[in-house]
């Protein structure tokens, strides 16, 4: 689907191992806005402030309109698909977590380090979502985990259907950890349930202490907060406790880890949490 204009039928592009040259699919199979599909943003659609009303239209049509009550949640389809994903994960003892954060917050670097720390112990696979390129999936595979890249094109987030398609290709093994690295964005991913068991938000110490207050939806939707790049703290005029306090103001239930994937600070307790959640999911299946 084209989330830019809502007109296309093109699904998000999946790039499995071996498909790495195929990262131009999004352009090839996607529709273009500069060709015949010109309805996008140039047609002279009428705005509702104009004088045409229902009554005029009805008179013109010479018929009676009827009102039908619907009462449908718009996100219900996504929700139903998310629940199906959740059941799929639970049935196979897969601990699925949705990692969300702005571009450059350190999502992929954290995953590389976590995969390396837990290698040989916790089986991990990763769904990598970006608007374009397969760079991150390549990094994850180089770190030693299996990965599939989803290119969302103009889309700013993953939805449950995109995740289901990615998981079908990736086939995470039973009793493993599936990490979903969402598109770098602190707004939209918070609104779409994917069927994950835990939602994590990551932001770095260089993002500033007021980030949680500026993006309350994301921090409210998360279960876990990861504050990254704490090795940079000596160079910054940033108070870590104040940063944490701001996040807890929005969501007092947040579990907080402050860490550095660069020098390893805080990685032990973060990996401990991941290991624990993995064991719980595996034993429950």
């Amino acid at each position: 689907m084209c989330v830019t204009c809502g007109c296309g039928q093109t699904p998000a592009t999946l790039l499995a191992p071996g498909d790495d040259d195929a990262h131009s699919h999004a352009q090839q199979s996607g529709h273009r806005h500069d060709d015949s599909c010109s309805h996008g943003h140039s047609h002279g659609h009428q705005h509702r402030t104009e004088e045409r009303t229902d009554t005029n239209l009805l008179a013109a049509l010479g018929r009676d309109a009827r009102t039908i009550e619907i009462e449908m949640a718009v996100l219900s389809k996504n929700q139903a698909l998310a629940e199906r994903n959740r059941g799929w994960f639970a049935g196979r003892g897969v601990f699925a977590m949705n990692l969300m954060g702005g571009p450059g917050s350190g999502k992929t670097t954290l995953l590389e380090r976590s995969i390396s720390e837990l290698r040989g112990e916790v089986p991990i696979s990763v769904v990598e979502a970006d608007q374009a390129t397969a760079f991150d999936a390549l990094r994850i595979r180089a770190a030693g985990a299996s990965a599939i890249q989803v290119n969302t094109g103009a889309g700013c987030h993953l939805d449950a259907q995109m995740l289901a398609a990615a998981v079908e290709r990736l086939q995470p093994q039973a009793g493993s950890v599936l990490i979903i690295e969402n598109v770098g964005n602190l707004v939209c991913p918070a609104l779409f349930d994917l069927g994950e068991a835990a939602r994590l938000v990551i932001f770095s110490v260089t993002d500033g202490v007021d980030k949680p207050l500026k993006y309350p939806h994301m921090f409210r939707a998360a279960d876990v907060l990861l504050i990254s790049k704490i090795d940079l703290l000596p160079h910054l005029r940033i108070e870590l406790p104040q940063m944490i306090d701001n996040a807890l103001k929005i969501n007092p239930k947040l579990l907080v880890f402050a860490l550095s994937a660069e020098n390893g600070q805080g990685m032990q307790s973060w990996c401990g949490w991941l290991r624990e959640r993995w064991q719980v999911a595996r034993n429950a299946a």
Partner: protein
């Protein structure tokens, strides 16, 4: 602009229910804490309905105020963003009672 994907869902859901009848009006309930902007929905609605049985339909948006309930003292208070301290006891922990709606309420067909 996640409103585009959402508007597309609205149009698809309404079109499915309309079973070929022309749609004149759609009423949507939108909470102020939902993370979706009414202006953006309106803009997208015009784009997404073009060439469908909703073409030219009017979009009515009923906005719902945010309402939180303090987990400490139970007081219900208005919220403009999905956080806030209780005006009575000052505690930040709350559940959102209203304001997260994104629902199609009704449609008018002919």
């Amino acid at each position: 602009m996640h409103e585009l994907g959402i508007t597309r869902s609205i149009v698809a859901m309404v079109a499915e229910r309309a079973t070929g009848h022309r749609v004149l009006r759609v009423k949507v309930e939108l909470g102020r804490l939902s993370g979706f902007m009414p202006e953006a929905l309106r803009f997208c609605f015009d784009l997404c309905t073009h060439g469908t049985i909703l073409d030219g339909a009017q979009l009515d948006i009923v906005e719902v105020d945010g309402l939180g309930r303090c987990l400490a003292c139970g007081l219900q208070h208005r919220l403009d963003i999905p956080m806030g301290r209780c005006p009575s006891c000052g505690k930040p922990a709350l559940t959102i009672v209203a304001g997260e709606e994104l629902k199609i309420r009704e449609m008018e067909v002919i």
